[in-house]
């Protein structure tokens, strides 16, 4: 078990290396630099800045330097936020994104799996059709349409909730962004659960359980355990995506999260900040995929032997 975890984490190292390498060289190949201002700096000042940040060295040496610092857990200084380290910026933005993401994940998992189960139990019925259509609709509503609509409805018309801002994570500021983030995932999870459970309910063991006279609730519970495997596998990458923030939601609601730092970093050619965020996301994807696999093994004993 521990061996498996360690092996999987070790397999993630080459992936992380690839992420660092691709994003590093991609950014350096691109035209423009972090110190291109609208009013150009004097050549001497530019030279000085480049020296301070080590941009005058050969590219390979810079890459080596970055990797060496990274190995010691140092993500380097930010290029655009003066006197701030990338690690510091991430430490500031991650709690915002993670709070939103965790709440949205919990909400969409509860609602999505619940609705999907209900639809699978009422296959072909009116409830199933309504849930199916709602799920398709929720998948098709882009967050950048939902967010302004929610702002209009609850912020401007009803005046129940603030339009945007963070305010140290006060609950009223969280409601609209969390709803926007969770909505499409409710649909995705409901559809996944419905398909998987509907398929499982057609299998022999279920017929046996029913014929033995087990109450429907118990039958559902037993079947759901196995049927949730693809759902749990989907939750891994979903959690990573939600925890690291949605660029759109953070932009529209004016939240100081990771996604916004990333976009601002990319626009300002803030090399280290962009790499730091990309690296963080990739690491989270790997860890959470592993967590999802472990959860699958817990749900389905057959998977424990296989790997």
């Amino acid at each position: 078990m521990i061996g498996l975890v360690l092996r999987r984490l070790a397999q993630g190292v080459p992936t992380l290396f690839a992420v660092v390498a691709v994003s590093f060289f991609l950014m350096r190949l691109a035209p423009g630099g972090p110190f291109d201002l609208e009013r150009p700096l004097s050549p001497a000042a530019m030279e000085n800045l480049r020296k301070v940040f080590g941009l005058d060295r050969p590219l390979i040496a810079q890459f080596g330097g970055y990797l060496a610092a990274l190995a010691q857990g140092d993500l380097g200084p930010s290029f655009s936020f003066r006197d701030r380290s990338v690690a510091g910026l991430i430490a500031q933005g991650l709690p915002v994104s993670a709070t939103l993401g965790a709440l949205a994940l919990a909400l969409s998992a509860v609602l999505g799996i619940g609705l999907g189960t209900l639809a699978a139990l009422r296959q072909g019925g009116a409830v199933d059709r309504v849930i199916g259509l709602t799920a398709a609709l929720s998948l098709s509503l882009p967050s950048f349409v939902v967010a302004p609509l929610l702002q209009i409805a609850f912020g401007l018309t009803l005046r129940w909730l603030p339009l945007s801002g963070w305010e140290a994570g006060s609950p009223s500021h969280l409601v609209l962004p969390v709803l926007t983030l969770a909505l499409p995932q409710v649909g995705a999870l409901a559809r996944l659960t419905r398909t998987s459970l509907a398929e499982a309910l057609r299998m022999q063991p279920v017929r046996t359980m029913r014929s033995l006279g087990l109450p429907p609730g118990r039958v559902t519970r037993h079947t759901l355990r196995g049927a949730l495997l693809p759902v749990v596998a989907y939750l891994g990458p979903l959690a990573a995506a939600l925890l690291t923030g949605s660029v759109v939601v953070e932009t529209i609601f004016g939240l100081p999260g990771i996604g916004r730092y990333f976009v601002e970093g990319a626009l300002n050619r803030d090399y280290t900040l962009v790499m730091g965020v990309v690296l963080l996301v990739a690491a989270l994807v790997i860890v959470l995929n592993l967590a999802a696999d472990l959860a699958c093994a817990w749900l389905d004993p057959r998977l424990r032997v296989a790997r």
């Binding site: 992420v19 035209p31 072909g124 882009p142 302004p148 609509l149 209009i152 660029v247």
Partner: protein, 366 residues
Amino acid sequence: MKAAPTPGRRVLSRLVRQRGAMTALAVLVLVALACLAGPGLTGTEPDRFYPDLRLLPAGLGAQPDEAHLGLALERIAFRIRARVAEATRDGETLRLVLAADAPIDRRGLVYLPRSDLFGPARVVGEEEGGRRLILAVPVRALHFPLGTDIHGRDLLARSLVAGRVSLAVGLTATLVALLIGIAYGATAGLVGGAVDAVMMRIVDALYALPFIFFVILLLVFFRASLGLMLVAIAAVEWLDMARIVRAQTLSLRERDFVRAARALGSSTPRLLARHIVPNALGPIAVAATLLVPQVILLESFLSFLGLGVQEPQTSWGVLIAEGARSIETAPHMLAAPAAFLIATLVSLTVFGDGLADALDPRGRET
């Protein structure tokens, strides 16, 4: 005795019986036809600015109506250096009397047809030595059923033109992802062994990459363009397709007809083209149908961030971004493109589900 229906026919008849899927298909065909043929039929050009008809709400009435007519006339009269002394509308012609302190320069009358609201003016009479002009001006009747944007462009025509781009991007990127995914997945599944293991490890590794972030980086650093966006979207979306095709191939590989073909000496490419891919087409078709909305959504997401389709081209995402910016003053600017986008995406999803049900013989509605 009648011949048994072929599997393809059976799927088709099951599909036709699903009302939801058929409704969705009808909506899709309608949207596609409207986008292809519609911009020519709206009576307005999508790129035409009507400075006198900015931010019209959605409505069926002919424009310019009384209020906008007055404003437009005042603006044009100002440019001719005259005042509107009298304006009476009689159906499609307007009796307009312009007055000024000095004789009116008739060359200024070209401003009337130039606004696109009026036809060429005819001078009926002249009074006070040219300081009063009596004109007969034909008034055009324009229709903006979905309103106009901040620059006075017809939102219906613009939504339809934008739809062409969105649909084209959705179909092209899906096709590219489909081709890569099928080739990759079928090869991995059919060859098997170490090759399969290595190929699927690569897919696993790619899955762990934060692709959305790479797409954004690519589009920010290298000037955003339609082609680059297509490549970026296809590069993200082929992974799922590869997995689906591989799983199908694995189950087909050991079937008797494939083994027979192999025993008869079919080469791997021939096996793929003749036996594996045609038999896996059902699930591939379902996955592709469900992929198109994802691609369109991704395109509009990137365009919303300003990284996708660039002016003067437009897409639903671009229009929605414009609408979202002015939602407090003009909610109809968001409503028009969003309605098109959402109707298309929902229909694609519902149709994909129907196709999946029709292809799955174990489904309930058989």
